[in-house]
């Protein structure tokens, strides 16, 4: 464990990633203190440009953009990180089992995956949210459901490649249980693609939430970065800050998670050359 931390701290990117995330989380937690009251209330004239009386200006109904970013961080992070984590978790387990065991388990799991691949991603999300009625929970569920097939296919591919390697055969000869082989030996070697897709998926999750909100399928009583982008979309050319600022927030978060992921990869996968 200590070895892991030592290696992690050595990765500059990883540390930077953690730092940025910490700031974002701090802002999210401190939102009611920094910006008391509802972020939906009117604070000034509409379309006030940034760096005036409000740090990031106001939107079409005179709402404070900075307050929106702070209050929205909690929702967007929840949706983005939670949905992606579930998708990555489920996808990894499915893919690992399918790739490792092969045979009928592979067939069963992959045929299940194919069902989920059939319906176009965005449509599937809309359909699920429409069925379950819009709420943060249903949105998280919908986004997780549409994202896990890609992860499963990726992990399965990696496991298929790893399965025939000598080190795996050695483990089997040594009498290790399947679980140990899968999770302690093969998986750490497959982390790269999982981390890459996982960290980028956080962006997709928040953007799907934005598209849902734009369509009126979000929760109109909860502030989120996705809601802000959706509401600012029509004013892209006139009030650029309405889309750009929440967009930058998403970018920063995704960058941080990406860096964090690379740090994790460095720490867990010592053979990686930098």
């Amino acid at each position: 464990m200590k070895r892991f931390w030592r290696r992690f701290v050595r990765s500059r990117g990883g540390v930077l990633g953690v730092a940025i995330l910490a700031v974002v989380l701090a802002v999210a937690t401190a939102a009611p203190v920094l910006f008391p009251g509802s972020p939906f209330r009117r604070v000034d004239r509409p379309f006030a440009p940034p760096f005036g009386r409000q740090l990031f200006g106001t939107d079409v109904l005179g709402r404070d953009v900075a307050a929106g970013i702070a209050h929205g961080a909690r929702t967007s992070l929840t949706i983005g990180v939670l949905a992606t984590s579930v998708a990555v978790l489920v996808g990894t387990v499915m893919g690992a089992l399918a790739g490792y065991y092969g045979g009928w388990i592979d067939d069963l799991l992959m045929r299940t995956t194919e069902f989920f691949q059939t319906i176009p991603t965005f449509l599937f999300a809309i359909l699920l949210v429409a069925i379950l009625a819009p709420s943060v929970a249903s949105i998280v569920f919908a986004i997780a459901v549409v994202n896990w097939p890609a992860v499963a296919r990726l992990v399965r591919g990696e496991f298929l490649a790893m399965r025939g390697r000598e080190f795996v055969q050695a483990c089997v000869c040594l009498g290790m249980t399947d679980g140990r082989v899968i999770f302690r030996h093969i998986l750490p070697n497959c982390l790269s693609p999982i981390i890459v897709t996982g960290s980028l998926s956080v962006a997709t999750a928040i953007l799907i939430e934005s598209a849902l909100s734009f369509l009126g399928l979000g929760d109109p009583n909860v502030m989120s970065w996705g809601f802000m982008i959706g509401a600012g979309r029509t004013f892209l050319r006139s009030a650029w800050w309405l889309c750009t600022i929440p967009g930058a927030a998403i970018l920063l978060t995704v960058l941080a998670i990406n860096l964090l992921g690379e740090g994790l990869n460095d720490a867990l996968n010592p053979r990686l050359q930098r």
Binding site: Y100, Y101, G102, G103, D107, M110, R111, E114, F115, Q117, T118, I119, P120, T121, F122, L123, I126, L127, A130, I131, P149, A150, R153, L154, R156, G157, E158, L160, A161, R163, G164, R165, V168, V172, D178, S192, P193, V196, T197, L200, A203, T204, L207, S210, A211, I229, R233, L236, R237, C243, G247, I250, L251, V254, N258, N265, R271, L272, Q273, R274
Partner: protein, 330 residues
């Protein structure tokens, strides 16, 4: 239970998968049918609301005409019976057979998604290699940041900005649509016209997909670069280029192939955002509008074709694995 080590030949594996395909697609159809019917509301309600006369009598008439007043199980059985005869049904909203509607939008969809696939894979792989070759350098950082930015930026933003720059400000390309409606070109001028309309939407989508390939490729190449066989090859005196292209690439490309397979499988889903921003007449926008109109016949038709494609492509990718890496066996 240890992994199976019995080797089966590729062709018998392919055959087994193809035989599985039929019941799989069938099962997918049934599940899709049930899933769609979980959504509240039906086509009659939507049409009646639009027409401005949603009296109970009118809606009952519509339901009877569309066959929606029959019990769900009966509707499902009738639907499956038609599907066995490859009759995809009728779209009551559009007053046209489903197959005709889909075929009309299939060409533009394949054109857009196919171009995107080729461009994003080729560019993604190339940029990923470039980034990995000088890992840690400013070139690597630049490519990585650009990939991140293009993936995390909303598609509608990229699309609209491209329209503003290339169509409005520079006047090089048209704003939207698949062809210039007022001109009614034929023959070669029509091909050029469509090609000009294809540039911006394909570019928008490619930037998005490319990002994932860049990052995946880079990560995979870096991983391979640390392997023993690379050190051996270098010791043997092979050039870096030869090592990269003949040895590392082949091993690193596996996750790229997997993801490309997923992308091909989702080809028929189009891209709702790009199609709507650029008014590109694709299946994505059609499916999207059908969902809101509760035009289930049309949606199920699209899902059916999509299911066939997914099953076939997954099979092809699995076969491709064995060709790429002989250590993988089915």
């Amino acid at each position: 239970m240890p992994p199976s080590t019995g080797r089966t030949s590729t062709s018998s594996y392919a055959l087994r998968r193809l035989l599985q395909a039929v019941p799989v697609v069938f099962a997918i159809l049934v599940l899709n049918f049930l899933l769609l019917h979980l959504a509240p509301g039906d086509a009659a309600q939507v049409l009646a609301g639009e027409a401005g006369s949603a009296t109970p009598e009118y809606m009952a008439q519509l339901r009877q005409r569309f066959g929606l007043d029959r019990p769900l199980a009966l509707q499902l059985v009738l639907y499956l019976k038609n599907m066995l005869a490859l009759d995809l049904g009728f779209s009551f909203r559009h007053n046209l057979p489903v197959l005709a509607l889909i075929l009309g939008r299939l060409g533009p969809t394949l054109l857009l998604m196919g171009t995107t696939l080729v461009v994003s894979v080729v560019a993604g792989v190339a940029l990923g290699l470039l980034a990995a070759a000088r890992a840690g350098s400013w070139r690597d950082t630049l490519i990585s940041i650009l990939a991140l930015v293009s993936y995390a930026t909303p598609l509608f933003w990229v699309g609209l900005m491209l329209i503003v720059v290339f169509s409005l400000k520079l006047d090089w390309l048209p704003t939207s649509g698949m062809e210039t409606v007022a001109a009614f070109y034929e023959g070669w001028p029509r091909v050029v016209d469509i090609a000009r309309h294809l540039v911006l939407p394909a570019l928008t989508l490619s930037l998005f997909y490319m990002a994932l390939y860049v990052r995946l490729m880079r990560a995979a190449v870096l991983e391979q670069a640390g392997m023993d066989y690379v050190t051996t090859a270098r010791a043997k005196g092979l050039s870096e280029t030869r090592i990269t292209l003949s040895h590392v690439l082949r091993n690193a490309v596996l996750p790229v192939v997997t993801l490309a397979g997923v992308q091909v499988g989702s080809l028929l889903g189009g891209s709702v955002v790009v199609e709507s921003v650029f008014a590109w007449p694709g299946l994505g926008l059609l499916a999207f509008q059908s969902l809101f109109a509760r035009d289930f016949n049309l949606l199920l038709g699209i899902f059916f074709l999509s299911a066939c494609l997914v099953v076939v492509v997954n099979l092809m990718v699995d076969v491709l694995y064995t060709l790429l890496d002989p250590r993988i066996h089915a």
